[in-house]
Symmetry: C2
Subunit: 431 residues, 2 copies
């Protein structure tokens, strides 16, 4: 089934908002074995919006729109789609009641303008909004046909209108739209796996894989992000099992070729892998962060259940605090500076000893844009790892972002990911 996503909203065209809705829906469509071939963004402009929907109706079978279901005059998605398909709008009593209950639950009266959100195109399946006001709309062309509405000029089988706010959109997709579609669609099974490697460039990894990257079933395609490269391995087959059987030998071969650069297959974020490795080993980690300023702790605690393996993170953003919390020697700081191997070593050990954890991870560096020098340019980072079991601590020096300025976020991100990777490798080695 060919699908298409249209996101409506001026805030997307101006770049004020990043279009996370498109990537979310795209991912879910993959799971429905429906290949998304187009995504587009249009503003709340009736003629351009109408043109976009029309183009989609002609070329795609499943069309998902997000945005433009709000209460203001600007919001035109529903009205435009209904007009294009010549479906009259009616005020749905239950939807109106849901909207006023929503406001009542917040102790507020429903503003008059919100009434518009209860207007529904005739013949539509209404998708309930559990956490917002705009109901969603699902037009099933088979269903419309049974009601005497024929659209033989269009390829479309489903047109789905979802609200723009990501939380509402996701909740509605998962609780209403996707279950509806799943019950209807039976098609070729598509299976995807994801293998992530770290510390090796995209083309170097691709060259190691050779022919595998140009295979047809499964296809293997890489994308690089913040130091890691993830290969998506996608196969199709008569059944899920059949598609799966085509993926597996390729994955095994890839593991062999990529060796210990492999973070894992279908593993989620680096922090998720770190939490799971620590859990598996029954170990805990303490963090001592300088230049990353809490980013590594944030990443670990993004993972639900991180509290089993992570109890303490110290963000030590000055020399005094490094000494106070982590017992870094004042002479060390004075002699070698905060960004040095010695400081990194004392930080990771100090953190683990303070909290009693099995591992200590420290980072200290210069994220920029200020603070660099010839000897220690912006991007210079020391990452230290201490292990209680072996009593060893070691630190490595990195230069992230090619010593360029204005890459603070990038340097911090790479530092955090690399620190987590170093931790993962240490846990694996000791286990």
């Amino acid at each position: 089934m060919i699908s298409e996503i249209i996101c409506v909203g001026t805030e997307l065209l101006t770049g004020d908002t990043v279009n996370t809705n498109a990537s979310y829906i795209a991912k879910r469509l993959m799971g429905l074995s429906s290949g998304c071939l187009w995504q587009s963004v249009v503003g709340d402009n009736p003629s351009r919006l109408s043109e976009s929907i029309l183009t989609a109706l002609k070329r795609s079978e499943l069309i998902v729109l997000t945005g433009g279901l709000g209460p203001t005059e600007d919001d035109l998605t529903k009205e435009t789609a209904a007009e294009l398909l010549v479906l009259p709008l009616y005020e749905d009593a239950k939807s109106l009641n849901d909207i006023s209950s929503y406001f009542a639950s917040k102790g507020r009266e429903m503003p008059n303008m919100n009434k518009k959100q209860a207007l529904i195109p005739k013949g539509a399946v209404i998708l309930e909004n559990e956490i917002g006001t705009a109901p969603g709309i699902l037009l099933d062309f088979e269903l419309l046909k049974s009601q005497g509405k024929f659209y033989s000029q269009y390829k479309a089988k489903y047109l789905i209108l979802l609200p723009g706010p990501p939380r509402e959109m996701k909740m509605m997709w998962e609780s209403a739209a996707e279950p509806y579609l799943k019950a209807k669609i039976t098609d070729l099974a598509l299976v995807s796996h994801y293998m992530t490697v770290f510390g090796i460039g995209e083309s170097a990894a691709a060259e190691r894989l050779g022919d595998i990257v140009s295979g047809a079933n499964p296809t293997v395609s890489p994308y690089a992000k913040n130091g890691s490269v993830t290969f998506r391995i996608t196969a199709n087959g008569k059944s899920e099992k059949d598609a799966e059987a085509k993926c597996l030998p390729v994955i095994e071969k890839m593991k062999e070729l990529l060796g210990d650069s492999v973070v894992g297959t279908d593993v989620g974020s680096m922090a998720e892998v770190a939490v799971s490795e620590l859990k598996g080993a029954g170990k805990t980690v303490a963090l001592a962060e300088s230049c990353t300023g809490g980013l590594i702790a944030k990443k670990l605690t993004d993972v639900s259940g991180a509290s089993e393996v992570f109890k303490m993170g110290a963000v030590t953003y000055s020399n005094e605090i490094k000494s106070l919390l982590l017992s870094v020697g004042e002479d060390t700081l004075c002699k070698f500076g905060a960004v040095s191997e010695q400081t990194a070593l004392e930080m990771c050990k100090g953190a683990a000893e303070l909290s009693g954890d099995d591992f200590g991870v420290s980072v200290t560096g210069i994220a920029g844009p200020l603070g660099g020098s010839e000897e220690k340019p912006v991007g210079t980072v020391w990452i230290g790892i201490y292990s209680k079991k072996t009593g060893k601590h070691s630190a490595k020096r990195y230069l992230f972002g090619h010593g360029r300025v204005n890459e603070r976020d990038y340097i911090r991100e790479l530092t955090a990911e690399t620190a987590l990777w170093e931790l993962i490798k240490t846990v694996r080695e000791e286990n």
Copy 2:
């Protein structure tokens, strides 16, 4: 000037990558007074890609493409555009040299496949890639005309091809593409300002503003995100000064109507405001984070120069560590639990007293999905603020995410933003 963005890449269609390139370029186009009317995403498929570029050539004056300039066979953007415009490709000696130098600087030999990146459509302006291998391509239709290439069937004036990796794309846009365009374009001046409010819903804020929201010049449009609502105020005029003069009285009126919900105008993130308020007051803050797990510290240290006002963040993810680092009484934890007013109060005071900072901010709550109870459902959060000067500490209880599960990220994000906002208000009150 009407502009359009086309992002090329299967990883976007599958949702594996969020399209941050589109929002970045869109924002920069706004700054060039060029309204972006369409954004689209297509895969590395020659016929669909060709169709998308063709549509754009017909309807837009400035077309920016990202992606598909890589070294693999999949990468077809340059080839497709060149074919469509009947421009032969030649191997550019300088580009080839740049690419092999890039590999040499990393101590590696240039893989053979990268040679393809040095192929340039005849008549193109080459945009140098300072941090990657693929050069960018700028086709200036005026310039092509002077070389005997006429395209009267198209509306296009500029077609720009940029690499897909965001860092390379941004660097190239800012250092090469934008300066080129700026020198060419003279148009109506467009000025935008952004006013952010917090703790008041989008429709409530819009209702307070009344007629202002439906104004034509300036236009005022809201977008809501993570508890804050930002109004973009955009005016056009003969000159920048003229456009500015149209914005200012509206901004003043908005400030009046929105009162102390206003975070600021053109202020950046909540963390940036917090850092700047603290700097202005000559004060410092210590953090004690439980459920946000370092997110607030991460946000503060996203801001370059945060070290002036922030030295210590304690991520205390267990009761023991709360007692050890922040001197939270074991009896407090035992009697009231970690998620309680009493614990929040002792945490913020404990943090500030440990580090000697002027303010202490604490958060303790249940981010979920596990750990909720009837009395303290998921989303229950206490935020505490301590001030050394007044000696006062207070804590407020919140219920974020309507007590729903599966909203861990959202709860943490809202908690962090709200804690920063509480800090900002306290600093403002005391100053």
